[in-house]
């Protein structure tokens, strides 16, 4: 699921006829003050980051005058919320709220449902799961037929189950139908307004909202500016954008997934380039490395039988990081012939490691054509001055051993190549 920011979701809501508070985004305190001046009312200054709990973290502040908006924007724009830097704030009018509701359209992919579900609650502002657990009588649901869509009469029936004034229910219905239109038109996986508020003037507004777009539909919505359609809690890095553009985008031959686990590489820290094949084996391998205190620079996955050219590019991306070892845990037993991985690895490592003597390379490669793949690796990498260890299917469940070997080889390599010790060793000495 690809995320969009609150301000983007509000622009979409506005397009489909749902009221949103007047406001705009600012990247500087001056811009924030100018927006507050235009609004000429109390405003909320809201950090635009993909993190929950912004209010508690001080990422949402209220200002009565533009000068105050300036100060709040100055504070918020320098913040990191849950590790994420704030680069934009949304400055919008502060509303006088009478009631808070929740409205959401969420794809329920469970076998039982497999359809979008409309959820509405008379209590908003907090997590819907929490409300459903505490006060189930406040939450109503309707499974939407994906072929016929949502009919406004179905919303009437749903709201009729709750004690809501007729006039208010009519306005809520309009907002809910608008939310569904957004969900449908933008191929969302979920679209939520929380809280959906009733103001003291009797109008319904979307005060906060979350919209996630289906990864596979992002190409249909270029206007949203989603550069890497993936469920991430931060903006993609430059390397991730390159990898997406030149490995994954438009090439549906298997997976060539590449995501960085570190975005601020520190000098003196030791990082491992990680390459997995298939979810289970990859997770085991990555977890084993992390459990031993190693920092993996990235998470990569080449499963689903990608061509060797695609695998090769993923390895090139892995080596475009300050790594001190390359570890592959490929325990994909069924659906691909591993000799393609072998060809890609040989070509990439021969190009990358010609001038890096002693570099640690640990490869666990199991699956179809494993023996042939191993032979290709052994022959192809023969003569390359690296610390190479190859493991086959008997090591699939022995990830801890693979991690232990990685740790040992890295320590040897760093001592020999740089006359230094790895950051893991430093930590374990302390």
């Amino acid at each position: 699921m690809a995320r969009i920011y609150e301000y983007q979701a509000k622009q979409l809501l506005k397009k489909v006829g749902v009221n949103v508070p007047a406001g705009d985004t600012a990247a500087t305190p001056d811009e924030a003050a100018a927006i507050a001046t235009r609004i000429a009312k109390s405003v909320a200054v809201k950090a635009q980051v993909w993190a929950a709990g912004r209010l508690q973290a001080g990422g949402i502040r209220f200002a009565k005058v533009p000068e105050e908006a300036f100060q709040h924007a100055q504070t918020i724009l320098g913040m990191r919320i849950k590790g994420l830097p704030v680069r934009k704030v949304l400055v919008e009018e502060r509303l006088d709220i009478r009631e808070e509701y929740y409205a959401g359209v969420v794809v329920d992919s469970s076998m039982r449902v497999k359809a979008p579900v409309l959820i509405f609650s008379t209590e908003g502002g907090t997590g819907i799961e929490e409300v459903a657990a505490r006060s189930p009588q406040k939450v109503v649901k309707h499974v939407i037929d994906p072929l016929s869509g949502l009919d406004s009469s179905q919303v009437d029936v749903l709201l009729g189950k709750l004690a809501i004034e007729t006039e208010v229910a009519g306005k809520l219905k309009e907002a809910i139908c608008g939310l569904y239109r957004l969900f449908r038109e933008y191929d969302a996986r979920n679209a939520e307004i929380n809280p959906l508020v009733l103001t003291k003037e009797g109008e319904v507004f979307a005060v906060d909202c979350h919209v996630n777009i289906d990864d596979n539909s992002v190409f249909r919505h270029r206007d949203l500016g989603i550069r890497v359609p993936r469920d991430m809690d931060r903006e993609p890095t430059e390397l991730e954008e390159l990898a997406w553009e030149h490995i994954e985008e438009g090439d549906f031959r298997g997976t060539g997934y590449f995501a960085q686990m570190v975005t601020d590489f520190q000098p003196g820290e030791t990082y491992v380039g990680f390459h997995g094949i298939g979810g289970g084996g990859s997770m085991l391998g990555a977890a084993a490395l992390i459990n031993r205190g190693m920092r993996i620079a990235n998470y990569a996955d080449t499963s689903g039988d990608p061509p060797a050219s695609k695998i090769y590019k993923v390895i090139r991306a892995i080596f475009s990081q300050p790594i001190s070892a390359y570890v592959l845990t490929g325990a994909c037993l069924a659906n691909q012939e591993q000799w393609y991985h072998a060809f890609a690895i040989v070509k990439a490592l021969k190009e990358e490691l010609r001038h890096r003597p002693g570099f640690p390379v640990i490869i666990l490669l199991a699956g179809n054509k494993e023996a042939e793949a191993m032979e290709i690796l052994r022959e192809g990498l023969k003569g390359l001055d690296i610390r190479l260890e190859l493991y086959g299917r008997e090591y699939i469940y022995n990830s801890d051993y693979i991690a232990e070997r990685a740790e040992t080889l890295i320590a040897e390599y760093l001592r020999e190549a740089r006359g230094t010790v790895s950051s893991y060793e430093k930590r374990s000495d302390q």
Partner: protein
């Protein structure tokens, strides 16, 4: 006059076969030491893109069909390096990567 190289593109790669390095092409032998390893690899790992003609590997399909047919196994280059004289080069472009490495002061950016 016979061409001294064969160049073609697959979907994501650029392939160059240098006949001046290719043993059977250079020596005109039908029984080279490499055993036409590239063509054998093609049969085993790729999609019958190459064949032997006039003691050299040539295209077995039309150039315009290669992008659709080849599975980009990278096996031709490997086979020629392993059994022949390194006459096949497969370039897999990754635009922007070198510049990125240069900017990040990483190996391979120079």
């Amino acid at each position: 006059m016979t061409e001294d190289k064969l160049e073609f593109e697959t979907r994501c790669t650029f392939v160059r076969i240098d006949y001046t390095k290719c043993e059977p092409a250079r020596e005109g032998t039908s029984n080279p030491a490499c055993g036409f390893a590239c063509v054998k690899a093609d049969r085993m790992y790729d999609r019958n893109i190459l064949r032997i003609q006039g003691n050299r590997p040539v295209l077995a399909v039309r150039k315009e069909d290669i992008k659709r047919l080849s599975n980009e196994s990278l096996s031709w280059e490997y086979a020629c390096n392993a059994a022949g004289r390194g006459a096949i080069e497969i370039i897999v472009p990754f635009p922007g990567l070198k510049e990125y490495r240069r900017k990040m002061n990483l190996p391979g950016g120079e």
